[in-house]
């Protein structure tokens, strides 16, 4: 496959990822900093537009709210086509309704969430406060695949991965970014995906009907369904889980960070290494399921683990759960809804 070099924003990359993944329908409700994904999709779908993709038959609906957007996605996937929505913060909260149904009925919902800070308008460009919401936000058990992108190129790749994983393993998939990632314009070469997982009708339309339900007459009958879902999750989670390990071999100090914070942390690690400090970065690409095998390997020699995030202990809870009982000192550096510079991380590591 030929790589194409483009000068695009993260939100534009997300749209290209959805198209290259074979998505056919987008539902959305305008919200900063994800609106450009809806606008970008509509521009590709609107055949009178110069940016229209030829012969793609892309469709969209700007819905009355995010609740309808999420359930619209579920309607399309039941019919056998790939669909998605994009949102942020308060919209991401409303999407939990449909995400809970997707999780329980194993529907391949795909959502791209560009995180922002706090409730209502809050701040509109950055936070990592939607990690717990994405991974564990529903009244279920968190059987959702959650990715965190740390670059424009990776956002494109993870959107494709999300569609593939959602349709292959039949768990809802959420790609997390943030407003800075969404609006940053950079030169990227996008690698066209290899094999795509095909969509198919979930209401099967056989000679005998399919009746899907969210209602059970006993705890036991519902429990059987949940047991099967959890078994499928456990069977596949090590294949789904992804991470990046940067200089983690022999690292005595390990930083764990995701998304844009991990980009700053990577630079900090590179700088600290020049001073012969044995430091590495473990960057979870999937926050749920976590790549726990790689994490444990990266933490093998670690005496101290710094968990750095723009939220209060949302990543830390996930990491500490996996490493519980190991003789490691955990230092949590949390700046909810504020970002980090590499220099700041270098100073915090040196002075701790």
């Amino acid at each position: 496959m030929e790589d194409k070099k483009l000068f695009i924003t993260g939100n534009e990359a997300a749209v290209l990822g959805a198209i290259d993944a074979g998505a056919q329908v987008m539902f959305g409700y305008p919200i900063t900093p994800a609106s450009e994904i809806l606008q970008g999709w509509v521009a590709k779908a609107d055949l009178s537009s110069a940016k229209a993709e030829e012969n793609k038959n892309l469709q969209y609906l700007q819905t009355e709210d995010e609740i309808a957007a999420g359930f619209g996605v579920l309607g399309v996937v039941l019919g056998g086509k790939k669909a998605f929505t994009a949102s942020a913060g308060p919209g991401h909260i409303l999407l939990q309704d449909s995400l809970a149904m997707a999780e329980n009925l194993r529907l391949p919902f795909v959502g791209i969430m560009m995180q922002r800070g706090g409730p209502s308008t809050g701040t509109v460009n950055f936070s990592q406060q939607e990690v717990s919401l994405a991974a564990f936000g529903g009244n279920g058990d968190g059987l959702r695949i959650v990715y965190s992108a740390s670059s424009v190129r990776e956002l494109y790749e993870l959107v494709i991965q999300a569609f593939n994983d959602a349709w292959q393993y039949r768990f809802p998939a959420i790609v997390l970014g943030d407003g800075y990632l969404g609006k940053t314009r950079s030169t990227v070469s996008l690698k066209k995906p290899g094999k795509l997982i095909s969509s198919y009708p979930i209401l099967e339309e056989k000679t005998q009907s399919t009746n899907l339900r969210n209602c059970y007459s006993s705890e036991e009958s519902f429990g059987e369904v949940l047991k099967k879902n959890i078994a499928d999750w456990n069977k596949n989670k090590s294949v789904i889980a992804k991470s990046e390990n940067f200089q983690t071999d022999g690292a005595e100090i390990l930083i764990v960070a995701h998304g844009l914070v991990a980009s700053a942390a990577k630079e900090a690690v590179a700088n600290l290494s020049l001073e012969n400090i044995k430091i590495g970065l473990f960057r979870p690409i999937t926050l749920n399921p976590l790549d726990s095998i790689a994490l444990k390997e990266a933490a093998k020699k670690a005496k101290k683990i710094f968990i750095i995030e723009s939220a209060l202990n949302q990543l830390a809870r996930i990491i500490k759960y996996e490493l519980a009982g190991l003789p490691i000192e955990f230092i949590e550096i949390a700046k909810p809804a504020e970002g980090f510079t590499p220099e700041e991380i270098v100073n915090r590591i040196k002075n701790t």
């Binding site: 309808a68 669909a83 209401l203 969210n214």
Partner: protein, 237 residues
């Protein structure tokens, strides 16, 4: 299979689980006959809300998805976008359609999404124990209006009339009653045809009886239904 059941019914799920005397069963029988008459059994997908409606999740030998409360309309709007060649039906109660799901219902009518919504109006939230709903008429006793619904909670909610104000002119909107099953079936057929032939939205509210929560016997149930029909006019709207 007996000679009276619609062919589109799923025999294994009968006898059904609705309460004795429930109007849902009458409405679902007429819906079954309507689907049979249209020869649409293998070309229809049915979305089901929660509340008493959910008991219809395996009622038909028809592809069915039971959704979250108030979300059946957007699910079927989405389904129809993916599968325009199929008939998309959404089945719900007065709480699902006129309270928690009203926003989606109005917008589907406003956009003229080609789906058919069937709403059972029995003037209460029956599955949860007979609380007042938007359609409960003034003075009617429910478990959350023990001395009769006060006008401060609004009079009976007229959904089809509301939708008519915002719906596309091609939309088919009607009110039927389980007191007249033949008319109910004919209105359902017209509604489904408006989806298939005019690619337009359609909506049928069905006035129904709830003997358990109304605390009425068979005769009293139909007497109260007759009173409802005076407040809620039957026919195309």
């Amino acid at each position: 299979m007996d000679n009276f059941s619609p062919k589109s019914w799923k025999q294994e799920s009968k006898p059904h689980l609705f309460c004795p005397g429930c109007g849902h069963a009458i409405a679902l029988k007429q819906l079954g006959y309507a689907i049979d008459e249209l020869g649409a059994q293998r070309n229809t997908t049915l979305g089901i809300d929660i509340g008493c409606s959910l008991l219809a999740w395996d009622f038909f030998d028809i592809d069915t998805v039971q959704t979250h409360h108030g979300r059946t309309t957007p699910v079927m709007v989405g389904y129809k976008i993916a599968r325009p060649e199929r008939i998309a039906l959404a089945y719900m109660g007065d709480g699902g359609g006129y309270a928690i799901g009203l926003q989606s219902l109005i917008h589907a009518a406003f956009r003229n999404n080609p789906v058919t919504v069937i709403l059972i109006n029995n003037e209460n939230y029956a599955m949860t124990g007979g609380q007042l709903s938007p359609t409960t008429e003034t003075g009617v006793k429910t478990t959350t209006s023990p001395s009769g619904k006060d006008i401060k909670f609004g009079p009976g909610f007229k959904g089809p009339e509301l939708l008519r104000q915002t719906a596309n002119e091609k939309a088919f909107i009607a009110r039927a009653s389980v007191s007249n099953p033949v008319q109910l079936k004919n209105l359902l057929i017209k509604a489904i045809k408006n989806q298939t032939e005019n690619n337009s939205f359609s909506f049928v509210e069905v006035l129904s009886i709830c003997p358990i929560n109304w605390k009425t016997d068979a005769k009293q149930s139909f007497e109260r239904l007759k009173e409802m029909e005076k407040y809620y006019p039957i026919g195309e709207i």
